[in-house]
Amino acid sequence: MLLVTSVPFDMIEQLPAIQLLLTLLAAPICSMLRNGDLSWRIATAASWASAACAFAILHQVWGGGSISYEMGGWPPPWGIEVVIDELTAIILLLVTLFGALVMTALRQSLTSIMRHQRQSLYYTTFLLCMASLIGITITGDAFNVFVFLEISSLATYTLIARGRDRRALTAAFRYLIMGTIGATFILIAIGFMYMLTGTLNMADLAERLPQHHDNKVLHASFAFFTIGIAIKFAMFPMHYWLPNAYTYAPKATTAFLAATATKVSLYVMIRFIFDVYGVEFAFGQMQLGTLLVPLSIAGILVASLTAVFQTDAKRLLAWSSVAQLGYMTLGLALLNVNGLTAAIAHMFNHAMMKAGLFLAVATMIYRTQTSSLASLSGIGRTMPWTTAAFAILGIGLIGVPFTAGFISKWYLITGALDKDWLPVAILLIVSSLMAIAYIGKMLDVMYFKPAPAEFAEVKEGPMSMLIPCWAFALLTIYFGIDTRLTAGLAERIASSLLGGS
Amino acid sequence: MKESTTKASKPENTWFDKPANVKKIIVALFIVCAMLMAAEFFYHKHAYFAAEEFFGFYALYGFIMCVLLVLAAKVMRVFLMRDEDYYD
């Protein structure tokens, strides 16, 4: 975090805004350029710059500090407040860093399917999506959350619809409908709260809501919010949009979506539950846990099992995402330090691993033009580096030690044991075995099945894609060993979230 | 088997091959036995068991027990004898 030391102090406070503006401004520039290559350069530079900002922010808030900044200088509750604490910082890092990595790989991936002009538009949408995700993360205003959520959703529909497969359109349409319903529910929830308190600032809401805890309107608001956000992060059984959307989204886009969109939605959920509704209300009065735990476990088991039977690489990984989101919500519902640590750390770790996996698959598809498992047979011999990266990431997803996945799983099971939920711990172990099954199935195909004749001569993926893939893979190992940034930070966040309630 | 092993084409006539000589040996054995029985009169037995004092005990015991031994063994053959390749 050398960068920060050379930046004047007052600039640090501006960093969140700078970050948001960087991406927001780069977007229209890209759209005007109409030159795919140049747009890519700008978009990549912007995303890396905002990743750098995220690092700087994280450094600033490291150890419990927080940044509060009023947009346009108006103090809350009237102005729009930007609030950055450790949780925000790590989500920001997640969005921008993994976004930037995917962006880096994107050019090669797109040139094969789009003309230049289209490409610049694509980068624009991508940047917009990223910007809105940043916005959701940093804002301290409930309504802004909705606004950015909508922007991000719209951008996402567009990204998905770009897929070459005609089914991409249907997938995008379904996502659009579901996303809209979700957003509407959230809007309704926020509206109810505004009705009760007359404020949209989250800090103020937190202050005023406790007096309305017995108010049915607040209860209804909570119900709408829960369902709305559950759709957004594809909680079982509201997950049906996700497999298709991820499967048909073009190329590396899936990597970005899988890494960021659902995680940010989950972040919103955590924010609202802990900082707006309050833990006491959500879990005590509203019994959120009794709904969340069974649904999470069902999601984990059903989705993992489903993944085992998939015959398409992307669809398999998509189902695995549904299961992995179950881990996060389960961790959340455990409502103890270890569980919450697991949830937060796994948001980061899973984003990293799943982005890497989708990227590796995208690299394979770049060469083979298909994502069906059968056509990836024997690719371990023709594309050894890509497959090796895929293998490392896959092993991470299983939760083998020395990988990031192990760390989050460790905390999650410890959390379950802390609660004396032995059966839950056992089910988590069982689901790990399922993860072995579906990852093992893919590796088995890639390494041991003979390559189909038409792909026998496939070349190794391009460097521009390979390097990000390996970056994800190496990060997976790094965060399996040095966990100060993930589990360490997450544990502090968890304690403060729980301690604050 | 060893190359040096051969079958004799005709029996050689050595001393033992003559039945008369064999008879001589048998007769000699009878004589020795008779003399040993006679010896019973000429020495003092330091007996530890009552049976020992019986006249010609060792000789008779040896003879009878050997006959019984062989007879018993013949009976055992009925029950115990098997073909040479029984265990193969």
């Binding site: 020395f402 099971i413 172990i429 075995l433 072995i436 040095d482 | -």
Partner: protein
């Protein structure tokens, strides 16, 4: 200094592995690097002895991925013993493997030696693990690093073997071992290997029984029935792999894990008081009998040796579960003794394959006179495995019997003795056939009587050395016993270790 050496013990094999990949185009340089790396590692491991003999336990922490739980390396007597066995035999195996791989014209030799090096690093990591988490981490690493070795041939057989291998080892370790580790952590609040254990007073006898059962089954590498099937399946690997990994590093890592958990997590006294080992004790007793019986039915030499290994591993488990000082001494010794004996047998099996292309026992008639050194070594290794003096294997059996007598386990004692006889029944015919049956007519016609046709020297010399090692282990049995004293007497004087 010891800290640096501890890291070095892990890094040396990996660095060596990477160096040899860089040298993949000149096989001679590559193979020299392999041998030199092995020798350096062995020297490093030996350098820990002065400190450990002085009662010291040097320790370093690499990282702390989970709060309060580091990737920690600690050198203690038991681990050092295992590390010595693994690294020492690695030198011989490397020399042997060079001869074997070239003799058998195996493909992908560079990948082979790389994975080999990583496996050894993992085994050293297991040996020096300072807590259960570290141990688990390297345990999994060992599974993964050896998988490419098992599937080395790349054919359908190798794939099937590999699938069973990975399926059982990963399945048990994640399904049972990890769970037991987490549960232990939850109960004890720590996972450090501590003299006298960490569970005493914290776990009820029932929970201790369940936990220890989970641990033992979870350690699939210990090959307790019914999780033994990976071991025969892994025999599709080239013989040096079977020799080092499936006679020494991998399987010993498994039983070593169980032993270490018994001694340092449960504590010998705690197991003895609570009877936590009861279930596993009888599972192990069953395994060692049944495996010997199955070995009798196998005509494939490596398959028979694999089942023999399954049985012999259970001796260690039996020792760990009996949990008295004689039994623990026996278990620890069995790790070394069986390693030396079994690696000899596998070396011989490989030498037979390289020199005569024979894999089935029924084809070995008369081969002993053509390969006298190999078969003599096989004889010595067999006698050691059976547990007869004057070879090392006798001492481990001696202490295990002492241990079962101390525990009043008469039936177990009977089973151990019966197993020795079964070992004779499946091992000695191989020697007998080799030396004393006539060569098949066509072979006899091909070569004049008295011709010696051994495998290359790289193969024959290591197997003679390990056979000599079996004898040496008999003579130095006392030294090993004295060396093990600290762990055996630790429970009586736990204060000394605080």
């Amino acid at each position: 200094m010891t800290g640096i050496l501890l890291y070095a013990s892990l890094l040396v094999p990996i660095t060596g592995g990477l160096l040899l990949v860089a040298q993949k185009d000149s096989p001679n340089t590559r193979d020299v690097i392999s041998v030199v790396t092995a020798a350096i590692l062995f020297a490093i491991v030996l350098s820990f002895y002065p400190a450990v003999l002085a009662g010291d336990t040097p320790s370093v922490t690499l990282a702390e991925p989970i709060k309060g739980l580091g990737i920690t390396f600690t050198v203690e007597p038991l681990g050092l013993l295992f590390a010595t066995v693994a690294s020492g035999l690695w030198i011989l195996t490397t020399i042997y493997a060079v001869g074997y791989m070239r003799g058998a014209n195996e493909a992908n030799q560079t990948r082979f030696f790389l994975c080999f090096a990583i496996s050894i690093a993992a085994a050293i990591g297991i040996a020096f693990a300072g807590n259960l988490l570290t141990l688990f981490v390297f345990y999994e690493m060992l599974t993964l690093a050896t998988y490419p070795l098992v599937t080395h041939k790349g054919n359908e057989d190798a794939r099937r073997g590999g699938r069973i291998y990975l399926g059982i080892l990963m399945g048990t370790s994640i399904g049972l071992l990890l769970f037991a580790v987490l549960w232990t952590y939850q109960i004890a609040g720590t996972l450090d290997f501590t003299a006298g254990g960490i569970l005493e007073g914290k776990a009820s006898p029932t929970i201790a029984l369940i936990l220890l059962t989970l641990f033992a089954f979870g350690t699939g590498k210990a090959a307790l029935m019914p999780f033994h099937r990976w071991l025969p399946s892994a025999m599709v690997a080239p013989t040096p792999v079977s020799a080092l990994l499936h006679a020494v590093a991998v399987v010993k890592a498994g039983v070593f894990t169980v032993l270490k958990i018994s001694v340092y997590i449960f504590g010998i006294d705690f197991i003895a008081e609570t009877g936590a080992g009861t279930i596993i004790l009888w599972v192990a007793a069953f395994t060692l009998t049944a495996a010997s019986l199955i070995a009798l039915t196998k005509d494939n030499l490596k398959a028979r040796l694999a089942y023999s290994t399954v049985g012999q591993l259970s001796y260690v488990i039996v020792g760990a579960m009996l949990a008295n000082s004689a039994a623990i001494a026996g278990a620890a010794m069995q790790i070394a003794m069986h390693a030396m004996g079994k690696i000899t047998l596998f070396f011989c099996a490989g030498a037979i394959y390289v020199a005569a292309h024979k894999t089935e026992i029924s084809q070995l008639d008369g081969l002993g006179r053509r390969m006298p050194y190999t078969f003599a070594a096989f004889f010595i290794g067999s006698v050691s495995i059976i547990g007869l003096p004057p070879l090392g294997g006798a001492w481990s059996k001696w202490f295990l019997l002492m241990g079962s007598a101390d525990a009043g386990q008469w039936i177990l004692m009977g089973l151990l003795l019966l197993s020795s006889l079964l070992n004779i029944a499946y091992l000695m015919p191989i020697v007998g056939r080799g030396f004393f049956r006539p060569l098949p007519a066509d072979e006899a016609a091909r070569l004049p009587a008295g011709t010696i046709e051994e495998a290359p020297l790289n193969c024959v010399v290591p197997l003679c050395l390990t056979a000599a090692g079996c004898v040496a282990l008999f003579l130095f049995g006392d030294a090993i016993y004295n060396y093990l004293q600290p762990i055996l007497s630790a429970p009586e004087a736990p204060a000394a270790d605080q």
